[in-house]
Point group: C3
Chain length 344, copies 3
């Protein structure tokens, strides 16, 4: 069961270039994404209504796509507009189409009732379009339900144990960091953790060699169904960052979107950005590679966790205090799913 | 659900040589095929009645096969005739046996009630035994239900889209070719398509370099449950082939048999033959390799189609005019299955 | 359905060294095995009660193990004794623990009601601890239910057909060997087979070149749920071994334990021992390698058998006389399972 009346990330915009026909399962539905010659992005069912052949094995013709099994041609609304060797086209020969928005960097899709699609509710992460922030967009595929990835992000204490040599650093992060009370939002939460007078984590040491002890902060915001926005920074320890002194601050911005592929698999779109003015490309690559290394640590843990849970559906998880944010997020999602069921 | 009271191809006859014990699942049943030392072909259950070991892991002894787990010996009727270390053989120690006919090139098997087996109903494709026709018999395994392969063959328009660079040629085949009305048969259909004044398809260009424009015809006959016979030819364009002038004609004969392995997999036996008198071997190999290349194009499409259908059992296909032959074939098969249920 | 109120082999003791955290599924339950710094072996649930992460991906700390997802620390009783960043520990934060006995060479586990665990019922194979007997302990993983392996061992006639070139030798073993009537035990059976004046089997020929014709005996004892003890020997043919003359005797001792991993997979622990006083290491390696070669022959047969049985749950096996021991063993196991159900 997924929220459907909401926007999901379907693709990075740059994936839809060079006439690419991107077939991608989203929320258990087979979707074809492409950019027509008129530059508009189209999302239609990736399954020919005739014999079920994937249209992503087809051929882009202008703004249309031709099934390369028997040659049926479909336009961007999903209507069949040509059947080779047949004059009349039955009106029921059409495939499902989806509301889709090309947001410039990301392609957003509305998987629910198109009549309810409201572009003003597309999640906004302003740093994505800000030219002062630099990063390398990337994608991971997870053999796990998207909520397990959201859980992971909702409790940053895990960086002390999963990522000691990459994103975390000292295990003290789990003991000594000070968490500002969670700000409950109608569609998620905002959370800030401070860790004063700590070591630079390994991934920052690779790009910053002068400072060693820092005051570190992470402000994460999560939104239903699966968005994570992180603003993080490092200030030379004891120079008064909490009082407003920003001398020598290093900052990062991080966007992660989890789109369910199936009940047990997830598309994971991410970018980690810096705003340094020197070594822009080199720093972006270093951060990308470090974060990816950390993500692979998460992937092992989360995919194993999924297998453990799958093996025994009777197992019930037991909460600790740090689970409050993830519980809030899961509660919001369940509420939204129930509301959708009532509406439908 | 399969038709059972009919003949299926179990193997090419040449597979049963050198004492081979061929274990093959047919219609979800495990069957052992072998040629005894008396030269008769035997088909019995490939599962020892004692502990379930496959007899195909056994040893041929004369006309019998010994299970190489505990040494039980079975004759060609499926009866156990020896138990090492035990005098008396209980009469229930036997495995199922099947009616089987060695047709010379093909081994035919009757999977249903042996009392109803009628050898006169074995499908006949006379070119298979005609020494003037030359081809290389081969086999493909499909991860798809046999009906999806039959569908593919029942609408030759697919060669325009799936096989433009191998078996098809011009996409005009799907638009311009003239189809003679389907001849409905009690056990299948016959269909002829003419494509006048077209380019030689790539697979024929490899063996014929003089002619470029041709009049092309395909006469296909399909029989339940899964047989395809094709008579096809190419005449220099405009020389009057439809009026009977056969000067310069190039002709082929093609046999394909689909035998269900399981509900989702199929054994596919095929041969593509020519009757040229020069370069016999080279031409046969060229045709074999070209057709196989084309079959791999089909395989990708059909196996992907099977995955798409499996992923959503609620999906219903929508027919176009060209589906009349495949609909007729499926209707005949369903009728036969219902008749078998009534009889049983 | 497995017997639970009994001892199973969980591991070779030497597997739990160098701070190893061994995660192993036993009877469908995920178990973590380790040796604490106090040298005691611990068996607890390999699944953190918080979010289901495997504790075997964790870190040994003294006699405790720390989950390396969020840092919860568990002691050897399964109790959570530390939550990073949280003072109070809810009493329900614990994982299941198992009764476990470090038997010196083997680690034994009781998967049922701990209150019923009785160490005096641990199966005893005295040769395992006798320094005069030498062998190399090893492990195989089977994709088959443990009962199929037990069946295999319960009828040694299979060595004539499965192992003619390794453990068996002459096929006459299945015809000529003399079986002493099975001794039915309350927890298994004991069985002796004599084969007089036969060839040395291939695996013994590799270590003994002087004798060719021997009198061979195998005394096997099997115990529920899955234990096999074999005492076997070879005496120069006709020198009166059955009358007590032991001149020139070569003897072996063999221990095999089958512990269900899941319904369809098994842990198989084994050791094959000799008591020769020369070439001790070389002989042990030769025997290990020969037996392993034979076990791979069994593995192919048994895993294929499992696939055949899985493919058709309606198939029923038919017994022969040699099945009496395996039938007795299966009957005992079913009786015990029923008794456990009544008790619980």
């Amino acid at each position: 069961m997924f929220m459907k009346n909401c926007w999901y990330v379907a693709a990075w915009s740059h994936e839809l270039k060079d006439n690419a026909l991107v077939g991608r399962t989203l929320l258990n539905e087979k979707v074809l994404l492409y950019r027509g010659h008129d530059d508009n992005v189209v999302a239609i069912e990736d399954r020919c209504c005739h014999r079920g052949a994937p249209l992503s094995l087809g051929r882009l013709e202008g703004n249309c796509v031709r099934c390369m099994y028997h040659g049926l041609l479909f336009d961007g609304t999903g209507a069949c507009i040509q059947i080779p060797g047949q004059e009349r086209i039955p009106p029921n020969l059409k495939v499902k189409s989806y509301r889709v928005v090309d947001g410039g960097r990301l392609v957003w899709i509305w998987m629910g009732d198109p009549a309810l699609a409201d572009e003003s509710t597309i999640p906004d992460f302003p740093y994505l379009k800000n030219p002062q922030w630099h990063g390398i967009p990337d994608y991971l595929h997870y053999d796990a339900n998207y909520l397990l990835i959201a859980d992971n992000l909702a409790d940053l204490n895990h960086i002390a144990y999963v990522h000691p040599n990459t994103l975390g650093g000292s295990e003290k992060y789990a003991y000594e960091s000070e968490q500002v009370p969670m700000e409950r939002l109608h569609d998620g939460f905002r959370l800030t953790k401070w860790h004063m007078n700590t070591d630079l984590p390994p991934f920052v040491k690779k790009i910053e060699r002068k400072v060693t002890k820092v005051d570190r902060w992470n402000t994460s915001q999560m939104k239903v169904p699966g968005y994570f926005f992180l603003e993080s920074g490092f200030s030379p320890a004891g120079t008064g960052i909490r009082e407003g002194n920003r001398d020598g601050v290093i900052e990062f911005r991080n966007f992660q979107a989890m789109t369910p592929e199936t009940d047990g698999t997830t598309h994971f779109f991410w970018i980690y950005m810096h705003n340094q003015t020197k070594d822009i490309e080199r720093t972006a690559h270093s951060l990308h590679d470090s974060i990816l290394e950390g993500f692979y640590e998460d992937k092992v843990m989360i995919e194993t966790q999924q297998k453990v849970l799958d093996a025994d559906p009777s197992f019930t998880l037991k909460a600790i205090a740090a689970d409050a944010p993830l519980s809030h997020l899961r509660w919001l999602i369940e509420k939204r799913i129930k509301e959708e069921a009532v509406t439908a």
